[in-house]
Symmetry: C2
Subunit: 252 residues, 2 copies
């Protein structure tokens, strides 16, 4: 089983869009996938047409022990989804004094054993919720928008993963960099893409996710890109990325 957190404390860099569409892409390759929405803004849940604000059983109730894993899962075709909603926004403060507060999710996930992939969509922060993601997985994929400002937080991001590995989760490793919203006509994007390749070498996935408005439209219909417009560039890119993830397999 591969367990992956999609991470970047910079906002709007395609974390949710990537979690949705590699989750769906891997499910289309007949893999058993669990997607976890760990953002109080519940963008992943809304992207599947889940009316997050109406739910009583979400990842928040799972974390505070009110509900069991099997009662919180929503099925979307081949995909299992643990949704989120705004009740999660109180979680950071609410759980901050609990002993083992960074391990609430990993404890609940111990009964989730029969998946090929568990993929966690994180919020743009390095707070307690994201720490819960980082102690529940072995791998981190960073989505990077190929522009200047999104690159500024990278040092802090790598430092945080380092600290978590030393203190909380010896298995944690950044195993993939996904370049998103790339537009080859823009010099800035090409320059930043080259810098990313120089710095991260083989961790950078060969598949780059290009800027494609269909990827922004699909969630408004509650559909993955494969359901919404299976032949567009966005679908092609995420299909290629899913295949590349599958081929890489478990990194040791």
């Amino acid at each position: 089983m591969q367990t992956i957190a999609i991470l970047n404390q910079k906002g709007g860099v395609g974390k949710t869009t990537t979690a949705v569409n590699i989750g769906a892409g891997l499910a289309l390759l007949n893999k058993k996938v669990l997607l976890i929405d760990l953002d109080p803004q519940a963008n992943l849940s809304y992207s599947f047409g889940i009316l997050a604000h109406e739910l009583e059983n979400t990842v928040y109730e799972l974390l505070n022990g009110e509900t069991e894993l099997k009662d919180v899962i929503i099925k979307h075709g081949n995909l299992d989804i643990i949704p989120s909603n705004l009740s999660l926004s109180g979680a950071e403060i609410e759980f901050s004094s609990l002993p083992g507060r960074e391990f609430l999710l990993s404890e609940r996930l111990q009964s989730a054993q029969d998946y090929d992939y568990i993929i966690i969509d994180c919020s743009p922060s390095l707070g307690l919720l994201t720490l819960n993601a980082l102690t529940s997985v072995n791998e981190v994929y960073i989505t990077l928008q190929t522009e200047f400002l999104p690159m500024q937080g990278l040092a802090k991001l790598l430092e945080t993963v380092d600290i978590v590995r030393k203190r909380l989760n010896r298995n944690l490793e950044i195993t993939g960099i996904i370049c998103t919203r790339y537009d080859s006509r823009k010099n800035l994007h090409n320059e930043v893409y080259e810098k990313i390749k120089q710095y991260f070498g083989n961790k950078v996935f060969k598949t780059v996710i290009r800027d494609n408005i269909s990827l922004a439209e699909a969630p408004s219909f509650g559909q993955t890109i494969f359901e919404y417009r299976p032949k567009c560039r966005g679908a092609l890119d995420y299909e290629n990325l899913s295949n590349e993830i599958l081929k890489r397999g478990k990194i040791n």
Copy 2:
């Protein structure tokens, strides 16, 4: 004096780009402007070429009382800037048990009286730092990227402003909506823009900030759009927006 927080807990929707360029635009109209970077990621500071990670006096030292307002300000032409850096990322937890923890910034700003505009760039969150911004200003501008996912957090955003107004700051009001990264060729953008206008009516600024790569390039040179490429669409849009802000004046 107009005091404005640039707010949206959704990431990557142009808060920083807007703070930088309306700050600069208003300064070019000979207004005395103070820009405050309240994001630990310090994107606003980096956008002015300030090497945030090397600084000893930042907004963090101002909040915890270590330094005075005059010692933390960095000048950029006509603009005064209070920079941030990563040390601010500990602030939410560190200050969380202080009495009056939401009023640390407003207390420090009491000596900042001779500005025409104080503009605060917020991080993509509704946590303690952002609450400090909301108790320090009378007005909120929301930057909205005209796509589906960025619209999902709006209800929570409005609710938070409401709660702050009732409990912490009776003067707080959303007085402006700025549509950013707009691309008129995209149907999705036009649909979302229409919805925004329907919902917010007159609060929506007539000037829409169009998608323009120069706006993403300028910060990599430590320049505002007016310094970097004064005739590009991004400069034109932010110039028009600054003029519109000036004309609106204090809303009462």
